[in-house]
Amino acid sequence: MMQLFDIVASAGLWAAVLRIATPLIFGTLGALLCERAGVLNLGIEGIMTFGAMIGWLSVYHGADLWTGLLIAAIAGGVFGLLHSALTVTLGLSQHVAGLGVTLFASSFSYYVFRLIVPVANTPPTIVPFQPIAIPGLSDLPFIGQALFTQTAPTYLAIVIALLMAYIIFRTPVGLAIRMTGENPHAAEAQGVNPMKVRYGAVIAGSALMGMGGAYLTLSAFNSFFPTMMQGRGWICIALVVFASWRPGRALFGALLFAFFDAFQLRLQTVLSGVVPYQIFLMTPYILSIVALAIMARRARVPQALMQPYRRGER
């Protein structure tokens, strides 16, 4: 019991929570934006993979880190464009188009990576984002080390979460997005073009996914590996539901999930071998499902989620 308390009370744990959460925050916000406009984007796993690959590749070829992140965002946006073309213009089934995009984006990432990067004994590296100690704040005891010694993309992710909450609930374009996700016919009747809104939301959301992937290779690590995404994209899809489609709660959900993960890694150091490690790895998923069961009744699903909108068809 004492040991558990020590783990939770360690600043290192909370710093890890923020690090582990960062790609999830980007991804979840991205998926959330798409879904708010009525489009489920299961392309996320592949888009994050491609973001991780292309962001890293750009920096490896001399771009600076921020340019790498930007390129990952743009690449994500391009896949968002593909997903929109399939699901918005053609109105194809959103699950399937998304799985198709994931399959394509991830295998394409690996293929491109293998063509461009010579196979070496260890994967080539870049110099990743370095932690920024925020002057003043980072000197605070405990909190300082836990919260204010992250790399720049982590701070960016948090800012984007707050910004997105503001945009969705406080600006005209946010209202247009929500309306499109609730009832695209109503949006159209008010002169808002639901197709354009969906395109915009999916492209922007996918750009965020690309950035989330790039965090893994530009900050959390310094190389790209095929298959390194390890299901993080799917977690984001779950977190959107967990967050009842609210950016603030998405931030919270990502942090909570990351907490489980960071906690289990530390728990292993004290309980190693007593409990099968798979149990630890399962916990975040099980708790997500439990949380869903508790929250589902209150969650307000965007009513037009997964419904294609075709003009002039009833």
Binding site: Y110, V119, T122, F225, T227, Q230, A262, R266, T269
Partner: protein
């Protein structure tokens, strides 16, 4: 003679350290003109037997790879293609005349690195980050721990498994968690661990390949494993028309010159280095054998 046609089949991407050992040795051999090398990577278990068959049908004389996930089927394939030699990483036994196996036994180096680490730790806590507790990973981590204990019986040894072979950011987090728990030297069975050590300015030990160039001030020792001796032995057998249904593991042992430790001199205390070098000589001479403990480390 014309170079021998050799195919490599890798279940993981070839960046994966273990596969990269094979891949590098094969590439080197190809560069030297000894073999002609083709390969597939990221081959799933379902597709693995087909890849073996396809390479066999394409006339490759020797097929190098890993049977771990397909032990039964791999032997079946070998039986179906008696004219092709298969030499695969495996925990099982060789079969017939054309199915050879090898293990990855670089635990000698790990033990020696542990001897250095045991003398270097100030917090008296060291940690190991592994993929999943399979025998060869266990053996390595146990050997490291045994090396530590041999010189510092009071030291505490932490172990974490990340549950997958391939998640460097996660390995890094696992390493950080161990540092937070007090470890000041990390044994990184998985890539990513040393990144944690680097970030927190502590020392780390690498496995299979030499990580020191990648983490110059962090990784001070590596338990190397060389595949080339195994490959050479297999090529020689094939060329001589001898059956390859052998266990080639021994060619990878330290006393056979297949594995070793490389370390940055002067990082550990001089007496620790001296003690370690003495053990190293004993191992090479065959007078000391590092215990092979395959059970999951606690």
């Amino acid at each position: 003679a014309a170079p021998m046609k050799v195919a490599g089949i890798h279940a993981s991407p070839v960046e994966n350290a273990w596969n990269s050992c094979l891949h590098k040795a094969l590439q080197d051999a190809a560069k030297e003109g000894v073999i002609e090398y083709v390969f597939s990577e990221g081959v799933s278990g379902t597709d693995y037997p087909r890849a073996m068959r396809e390479y066999a049908e394409q006339g490759n004389k020797l097929i190098i790879g890993e049977a771990y996930a397909v032990e039964k089927e791999a032997r079946q394939v070998a039986a179906d293609y008696p004219d092709t030699a298969f030499v695969l990483g495996s925990s099982g036994e060789q079969a017939g005349s054309n199915f050879g196996v090898f293990g990855t036994w670089n635990h000698d180096g790990a033990y020696l690195a542990g001897m250095l680490a045991g003398k270097m730790t100030k917090s008296n806590v060291v940690g190991s980050v592994g993929a999943i507790p399979i025998p060869e990973v266990n053996m390595l981590i146990n050997a490291f721990a045994a090396g530590v204990k041999a010189v510092n019986p009071d030291a505490k040894h932490l172990v974490s498994f990340i549950g997958t072979f391939f998640d460097p950011p996660k390995a890094r987090e696992a390493g950080l968690a161990q540092i937070d728990a007090g470890a000041d030297i990390l044994f990184g069975e998985r890539i990513g661990t040393a990144d944690a050590a680097k970030e927190r300015n502590i020392k780390a030990v690498g496995s299979l390949i030499d990580y020191t160039p990648r983490y110059p001030d962090t990784v001070f020792a590596n338990a190397l494993w060389g595949f080339r001796p195994i490959l050479n032995a297999a090529i020689a057998d094939v060329a001589a028309g001898k059956p390859v249904g052998n266990n080639y593991t021994a060619f990878g042992l330290m006393k056979e010159g297949g594995s070793d430790i490389v370390y940055v001199k002067g990082t550990a205390p001089a007496d620790a280095e001296a003690a370690m070098e003495a053990k190293r000589a004993e191992i090479k001479a065959g007078t000391f054998e590092v215990p092979k403990m395959m059970e999951e480390p606690k």
